[in-house]
């Protein structure tokens, strides 16, 4: 009996570890990294410890990586400096802006992608808006009138019936 319980506990623990290991980092709400780190690169902004969990911090991008995001094109290893590959840095919800954990740009570079700020006199050219509807106004008015009349007459009927029942 004890063996069975232990086996179940181990199985459960194993499954949980497996689920955590294969979950994409961007789907997690809590950071998988050391406190104050948005990836395995550099040092924690809160404790000053290396973010990769070792005694030596990874300070530059890994071989085959241009950012801490994704996988190395040379060896296929995660570029984050840990065993977890990132699609966006921890503390980010997209490539735009900064990580709420350590303030690093979410796109993994040294310069954050910002929402467009249009300088005066510099036009941008999106498509035309949709500002019209089709259909027949007389038909719509007739339909609205019919439905309105039906609703009012129906209500009147029920009110009358209710009063008579009283």
């Amino acid at each position: 009996m004890t063996k069975k319980i232990l086996f179940s506990v181990f199985l459960l623990a194993f499954m949980m570890v497996g689920v955590v290991a294969v979950s994409p980092a961007y789907a997690q709400t809590a950071s998988p990294f050391i406190s104050g780190c948005s990836s395995g690169m550099g040092y924690s902004v809160t404790t000053g410890q290396p973010c990769n969990g070792t005694t030596n911090a990874t300070l530059s991008n890994l071989p085959g990586c241009s950012t801490p995001l994704g996988y190395s094109v040379t060896n296929g290893q995660p570029c984050s400096g840990t065993s977890v590959a990132l699609q966006v840095l921890a503390g980010c919800t997209s490539m735009v802006g900064y990580s709420v954990i350590d303030g690093d740009p979410c796109n993994g570079t040294s310069v954050a992608t910002a929402p467009v700020v249009v300088n005066p006199g510099t036009p941008i050219f999106p498509g035309f808006p949709t500002t019209g509807f089709g259909g027949s106004a007389p038909l719509n008015i007739a339909l609205l009138s019919f439905l309105g009349t039906a609703a009012v007459l129906g209500t009147a009927y029920f009110v009358r019936r209710y009063r008579m029942a009283k």
């Binding site: 900064y98 954050a112 992608t113 929402p115 510099t122 949709t130 500002t131 509807f133 106004a137």
Partner: protein, 224 residues
């Protein structure tokens, strides 16, 4: 007994029809007032990597990256009232809301059929460049909306815009032209040092499969 059951069924049927009528009336009235089609949600913040993003005057697509201060809230304020537009000859006098870009990469349409929308990523009316104000030509019941009479404008007519800061700027119509609904707008929203106002609404015939009209009426006016 059968008569009783029949009576009850009739009563329930009548109740359902009455309720359905009320709901349909409510739906139709809301369509006449408020514009909120599916798939045309406005982007909260206009990011450079989305369609319709920054294209400078030389038509080179540019993904602009800038150093910005860390921030935790959207940069752009939610759509709000901007000012007022008056076009006496077309009997237009309406509030202006702020509009941005929708998920299709087009200028968002104003949410209310009775209001116009100033494109908030462009210049303000009276500033150098093309300020863009759009408005619906008709509402969900095909009844006239704010820019129904825009087609009646003629070259030389005056347009007055009261900006958010209270300043009223006057323009004189210089050009009235219709374009295909999917025309590239870089040549239309001109890059110029002049202070232009461009009023846009739908025109032409309805394309049911695309749920839009096949043309856009663009009225260009120059600051006086």
């Amino acid at each position: 007994m059968n008569k009783e059951i029949y009576k009850k069924i009739k009563l329930i049927g009548l109740g359902v029809l009455c309720l359905a009528s009320f709901l349909l009336v409510g739906f139709m009235v809301s369509r006449a007032v408020y514009y909120n089609p599916s798939g045309e949600a406005e982007l909260e913040v206009f990011y450079p990597d989305q369609r319709g993003a920054v294209v400078l005057a030389d038509n080179d697509p540019v993904v602009r990256e800038e150093e910005v201060e860390p921030r935790s809230e959207p940069v752009n304020p939610p759509p709000a009232t901007y000012g007022r537009i008056r076009i006496p000859t077309a009997r237009i006098d309406a509030k202006i809301d702020q509009v941005g870009v929708n998920t299709k990469g087009n200028i968002s349409a104003p949410k209310y059929f009775s209001r116009a929308g100033w494109y908030r990523y462009g210049p303000e009316p009276g500033d150098p460049g093309s300020a863009i104000i759009s408005g619906h030509v008709d509402n969900g019941l095909a009844l006239p909306a704010v820019f129904w009479n825009l087609k009646d404008l003629k070259v030389g007519d005056e347009v007055h815009v009261e900006r958010k800061d209270g300043v009223e700027v006057s323009f004189r119509v210089t050009e009235i032209k219709a374009y295909p609904y999917d025309a590239p707008t870089d040549k239309i929203f001109k890059k110029t040092d002049a202070s232009l106002l461009q009023l846009i609404t739908c025109t032409g015939t309805w394309i049911p499969e695309l749920r839009t009209r096949n043309q856009r009426l663009v009225v260009t006016a120059e600051k006086v």
